[in-house]
């Protein structure tokens, strides 16, 4: 099976990594978190979401939890995902890259603002 491409990191994949920074989430949780952190601009559909999750799993950037505490309580079997250290490193690198870009944009007076 051809490897899914994560280089460059697609925006959906980066958003998923970001959403998992704070806590472990299941699919729907990730979708909601992404929606929040993009202020509603990105709503991941099931196909895009799970296809991205699959790529991230294959690249060992996230991992699937055996059994989450919440899931134990409810009867629904949900898969939860957690950021791996590699995933965290990649998310950092990507954020850094974006920050660099942002800095350039500010220098060129494309964006106003003092920080970053």
């Amino acid at each position: 099976m051809p490897k899914r491409k994560l280089d460059p990191l697609p925006s959906a994949a980066f958003q998923i990594l970001l959403s998992l920074v704070g806590e472990d989430l299941h699919g729907y949780g990730i979708m909601r978190e992404v929606e929040d952190q993009t202020e509603g601009r990105m709503r991941l559909g099931p196909g895009t979401l799970y296809s991205s999750i699959q790529s991230l799993l294959e690249a060992k950037l996230i991992e699937e939890l055996d059994q989450h505490e919440d899931a134990k309580l409810s009867h629904e079997r949900r898969r939860y995902y957690r950021l791996t250290s590699a995933g965290r490193k990649l998310a950092c690198a990507e954020a850094q890259r974006l920050a660099d870009l942002l800095r350039v944009a500010r220098v060129k007076k494309l964006l106003r603002g003092e920080y970053v």
Partner: protein, 536 residues
């Protein structure tokens, strides 16, 4: 309900994705539809889902390129059969059933198309020959010989409806295709050269269908109003009420069954029935006059000059026979003797090419002669086609000749042609230098059918200057329907689109650009050509 729909849509994903994430995706859908209630949110949900499907389904299939799974565990030892399978699972029964149904559907559709298609495009050789039918009437000069050939061979073809001559032209009037014509023919009586086509069934003394037609001189007008003075008319005076009734009924039925425009067919049929009711036909005892009157009335209402009713004094054959071997051999002999009716191909003063062509002969016999004639004129600075005695012939030869006059494929409208590909010239012709030279076509009232096809199109394409008289006006596009021993009717059943106007040259003929007497046409054309070349 909506969950079921989404579950069904999930089946669009490849199986490996469904197996792993199908439940999760469905769960996500459930969560969202639980949280997003109301018309707008659920509309947004579905929009999201469809956008998601459109993006992710193709991507999943791209990533789902099958892994080769080695089914046999061992490597192939010498000669041991082993194979790879693309998947380690057999297809679902539903998929198999669907596959079988789709294949059956495709097979049935294809068979139906194949059998239906055969109706419109003849596949067998005889049928094809019909399609490339000669227009008809042989050139007057080769007439006697051709006439014999025609009678024997090109009379009519079996099984296929014949194309009747639509002309009301004395010269076009054809005898029924039977070698029985005991009446000595006068110089006017011509036989259809048309292989397929039979016969334009008319009395051996040709009678114009439309005596009012101003173009054609009429040797023996049989006008409906005129007293039946001729011998033929006296003989014809045996039309009784029963046959009149039969003919009218058949004409009406044929119109309704075969005419390409049903509304016009009904209007025309109603008009005939009204005339009948008014007693307009009661006094008519002359078959030819009756046919002429019917034809005029048909055309008055339909404005279709391809419609006609014809009368034949000689009984029409009850079935049509194909060309005989002898007939073809005789046609061939005549063509050899007459140089394929290429009477002259010469260079006149001022390097003007002159080609006198008296028919458009069968290209399968005369292609080399035609090419030789055009090669002989290849270096001319202008070219004159003399078609004043050209009574038509094979559309294939018309196209072959016309090809020399263009440097790109050009559309030549032919009212008889059903297929567009036969209507494009095979231009440019390799080595030909005539494509951009001035062209003059000499025409007369004895220019018919295929020659009119040639002249009409060159005129409409502004490729030639037509010099002489208005042509005869014969298109010969109708399919012939036999009514009884003496009556039949021609109905146009093809819908070749004329790019230039609604009417073509049927009956009215092709008008010259420069109107002079036929006898003066050559001198006039030469002068025109000389003055044009001087200006260059």
């Amino acid at each position: 309900m909506s969950e079921k729909i989404y579950a069904w849509l999930l089946r669009l994903y490849p199986s490996h994705f469904r197996e792993k994430y199908g439940d999760d995706a469905l769960q996500l859908f459930r969560d969202r539809s639980r949280d997003e209630k109301g018309i707008v949110p659920s509309l947004r949900l579905w929009l999201d889902l469809f956008a998601d499907l459109a993006i992710s389904v193709p991507r999943e299939y791209f990533h789902a390129e099958p892994e080769l799974v080695a089914a046999s565990a061992q490597y192939p030892f010498t000669g041991t059969p082993f194979f790879y399978v693309l998947r380690d699972k057999s297809p679902r029964p539903g998929a198999l059933v669907l596959g079988v149904m789709l294949s059956l559907g495709a097979l049935v559709t294809f068979s139906i198309l194949l059998s239906q298609g055969g109706r419109y495009r003849p596949l067998s050789a005889p049928a094809r020959q019909n399609q490339h039918a000669v227009y008809e009437s042989s050139p007057a000069s080769v007439q006697p010989a051709l006439q014999a050939a025609d009678d024997a061979s090109y009379s009519a073809s079996g099984g296929v409806e014949t194309i009747a001559s639509i002309s009301q032209q004395p010269a076009m009037a054809a005898t029924p295709a039977r070698p029985i014509d005991a009446t000595p023919r006068d110089s006017q009586s011509l036989v259809p050269l048309a292989p397929n086509n039979s016969l334009c069934p008319q009395s051996s003394t040709p009678q114009p269908l439309d005596a009012a037609n101003p173009i054609q001189p009429d040797p023996s007008p049989t006008h409906p109003d005129s007293t039946p003075a001729t011998a033929a008319a006296v003989q014809n005076a045996n039309l009784d009420a029963a046959e009149r009734q039969l003919v009218i009924d058949a004409v009406v039925a044929n119109l309704k069954d075969h005419y390409i425009y049903p509304d016009i067919a009904h209007r025309t049929a109603d008009a005939l029935l009204a005339h009948e009711k008014a007693g307009d036909y009661d006094a008519l005892t002359d078959g030819a006059a009756f046919a002429t009157l019917l034809t005029r009335q048909l055309r008055d209402v339909s404005h279709d000059l391809h419609l006609e009713v014809v009368y034949s004094q000689v009984p029409l054959p009850s079935h049509l026979t194909g060309p005989t071997r002898e007939g073809i051999a005789r046609y061939r002999a005549v063509m050899e003797q007459q140089n394929c009716t290429f009477e002259k191909a010469q260079i006149l003063a001022h390097n003007i090419g002159y080609l006198k062509l008296n028919s458009f002969p069968d290209p399968s016999l005369c292609e080399s002669t035609a090419k030789a004639a055009m090669v002989a004129l290849n270096d001319a600075d202008a070219i004159i086609f003399d078609l004043r005695n050209n009574r038509g012939g094979y559309p294939g030869m018309v196209m072959l000749m016309a090809a020399y006059l263009f440097d790109h494929p050009e559309y030549m409208y032919n009212p008889r042609e059903n297929t567009a590909e036969q209507s494009w010239t095979h231009s440019p012709v390799p080595g030909n230098r005539l494509a951009n030279k001035p062209v003059y076509v000499l025409i007369s009232s004895r220019t018919f059918s295929g020659a009119e096809h040639f002249s009409y199109n060159l005129k409409m394409l502004k490729r030639a200057t037509l010099v002489g008289e208005t042509t005869g006006g014969a298109t010969d596009v109708g399919n012939f329907h036999r009514i009884d021993d003496h009556f039949g009717m021609g109905i146009r059943e093809t819908r070749a689109i004329n790019p230039y106007s609604e009417s073509d040259w049927a009956v009215t003929g092709v008008d010259p650009d420069v109107k002079v007497k036929s006898a003066d046409a050559l001198d006039t054309a030469v002068k025109l050509a000389e003055s044009k070349l001087r200006k260059k």
